[in-house]
């Protein structure tokens, strides 16, 4: 079984549209939506949810006013500016925790001399195991303004891998999130290969460079493709050169085609509508698939 994760650095370059098309083309994959923050893949693959689970992301501190003596030790120790201090009607100092700032480090809990800080687990999202027309899918929804996205991504990947092994699937396809931070790192580490979707703009090039460095940092073999390549042909050339100079495979180019958006509006993947760009996507998938199966990934 091979695990391929699709990432991009910059957002909106077409990760999800491309991945959904690959899911249709490969026909034997388990799909993992690792963009748990702004998940969109379900809009194209319309999963039929079979299992629904809560995600306990971490803990959050809460000051028990009945026990608090107002010493302010928590305020002094917290490094995340999560303790709010104000005076009540009687002029006494009152402390409380801002749950949006609390990182759940437990320092205030441990060092409160009055043992007045409660440390409860918090449900910070949910995750699902579903069936789609392209195969099983594991996906999740992190609560808005929640943290611990990396942990949820790891959980989604772990379950997808188990399902792939149980059902003898050849491929695990993971849709990553934009950026290079915690959820992206959690989605690529230990993967067999990453597909980087670039966009031929100065911003796209800048961000692709960073995400390519990230794959090198973690030793993940990388494929690079360019979406909407004919928007700026010179920059597409540059992306191709960049990819090759950094030891990545250049997997191909997808033309600018409003039919891809048209497909999305119909809830379909590009390759299911035969829009011109689907030809390009098929070539890219052939290129990657041949190399994944050939096991020639270490450049």
């Amino acid at each position: 079984m091979h695990e391929l994760v699709v990432i991009s650095g910059k957002g909106g370059t077409g990760k999800t549209s491309l991945l959904a098309s690959i899911a249709v083309l490969s026909s034997n994959a388990v799909i993992a939506d690792c963009d748990v923050d702004a998940a969109d893949l379900h809009l194209l693959l319309k999963p039929d949810v079979k299992e629904h689970h809560e995600f306990i992301g971490g803990r959050v501190a809460q000051i028990l006013q009945s026990k608090c003596r107002g010493c302010g030790e928590c305020l002094k120790l917290c490094r995340f500016d999560a303790i709010r201090a104000y005076r009540n009607g009687r002029g006494e100092r009152v402390f409380s925790v801002d749950p949006l700032s609390c990182e759940g480090c437990s320092v205030c809990v441990r060092f409160c001399p009055a043992c007045a800080v409660d440390f409860k687990t918090r449900t910070s999202g949910e995750w699902f195991i579903s069936m789609t027309r392209c195969g099983p899918m594991v996906h999740a929804k992190l609560g808005v303004a929640s943290s611990n996205s990396g942990k949820l991504v790891s959980l989604v990947r772990k379950r997808s891998r188990e399902i792939a092994e149980e059902s003898n699937r050849e491929l695990l396809l993971a849709d990553g999130s934009p950026g290079i931070g915690c959820p992206v790192i959690a989605s690529i580490t230990g993967s067999d290969a990453a597909l980087l979707v670039g966009e031929p703009s100065l911003s796209g090039l800048h961000d692709l460079k960073r995400v390519l460095d990230l794959t090198i940092h973690f030793g993940i073999p990388a494929f690079v493709c360019v979406n909407k390549w004919d928007i700026n042909k010179e920059l597409s050339e540059e992306i191709e050169e960049l990819a090759l100079s950094k030891g990545a495979f250049f997997a191909g180019r997808v033309r600018y085609d409003r039919g891809v958006t048209g497909a999305q509006l119909e809830g379909k993947t590009a390759v299911e509508t035969n829009t011109p760009a689907s030809e390009d996507i098929k070539k890219i998938w052939d290129y990657i698939n041949t190399r994944l199966k050939g096991g020639r990934l270490c450049a």
């Binding site: 650095g9 923050d37 702004a38 969109d40 990182e103 320092v107 990396g150 911003s203 990230l214 973690f218």
Partner: protein, 292 residues
């Protein structure tokens, strides 16, 4: 006044809107690019960098000669950054949030703290705009400390435009929190609508009023307009789907240099936000600048 430009989905046009907004405004303006994982505003503003500052978090350093392997550090650490198998501590510093708990709890005083660089903040001037942007080091997972550092650098009297990272979790929350108003940039696709709904939820949680700029608009696809009408969210501006705009963007040209008429539209947008903020009960008029 601080205005955050945000969106759940990536690539909807946050930087396009933030840069054009900053360039349109009169008076002193600072653009804070808080998308430290994929910062792009400098590509449009070409700032000359006047200063840079490294951003660090405090991470533990263990003096093994003092450590007795008791495991208290590993017990307090909620992020699995210290484990103590076989009485010998092992550090995973990328996981460390810098809370300092391990150093505080160690009964032998074996843990001190040292600085670990996670990124850099650069400050300069470009096209008349005070520009501050940060960059997370490749391989580092935690970006909020860099965003905090950027936001500390505001001069008094400046209008602040924040270019937020995509999403609705820690980095986006850290960027948007404390703003007076949020402009949510959305595109009229199913992905765009799904992620706009998430951003609206986020700003509601942070108690920040919001309005929408609709990007890549064409008059056949009204899903965002229908949603906004239903929710009573004003749409300030509709930027048409136009290959010319995409091509100019690709070369690092600001939107208002492609369509100069937009300068007035962006000024009016700020005017409407100011009006809404000054009237305690008033709502922004649901009219919209139409560009086609």
């Amino acid at each position: 006044m601080t205005i955050a430009v945000a969106s759940g989905k990536g690539g909807t046009g946050k930087t396009t809107v933030a840069v054009s907004l900053a360039l349109s405004l009169e008076g002193s303006v600072v653009l804070m690019d808080c998308d430290v994982e994929a910062p792009n505003s400098h590509i449009f503003l070409h700032p000359i960098i006047a200063g840079e500052e490294n951003v660090y978090i405090s991470v533990p350093r263990i003096d093994e000669s003092k450590c007795n392997g008791c495991g208290e550090c590993s017990e307090i650490c909620q992020f699995n950054a210290i484990v103590v198998p076989k009485n010998k501590p092992l550090l995973f510093l990328e996981l460390c949030h810098g809370c300092g708990g391990c150093a505080m709890v160690c009964p032998k005083g074996a843990i001190s703290e040292e600085k670990r660089k996670i990124g850099v903040v650069e400050e300069g001037w470009g096209m008349g705009i005070h520009s501050i942007h940060g960059s997370l080091s490749v391989g580092e997972p935690i970006s909020p400390p860099i965003i905090k550092k950027i936001k500390q650098k505001q001069n008094t009297g400046e209008t602040v435009i924040i270019d937020s990272p995509p999403g609705t979790t820690c980095p986006a929350v850290e960027s948007v929190r404390g703003s007076d108003y949020a402009i949510l940039v959305a595109e009229p696709t199913p992905f765009g609508l799904n992620d706009l709904i998430l951003s609206v939820e986020m700003v509601k949680k942070l108690a920040i009023p919001c309005g929408v700029v609709l990007n890549r608009w064409d008059d056949e696809r009204t899903i965002i307009e229908d949603y906004c009408l239903n929710e009573g969210i004003p749409i300030f501006l509709k930027i048409p789907e136009d290959r010319k705009i995409a091509e100019a963007y690709s070369r690092g040209v600001a939107l208002i240099d492609v369509i100069p008429e937009l300068t007035t539209a962006f000024r009016e947008l700020i005017g409407r936000i100011k009006k809404e903020l000054s009237s305690q009960t008033g709502k922004v008029e649901p009219s919209c600048t139409n560009l086609l």
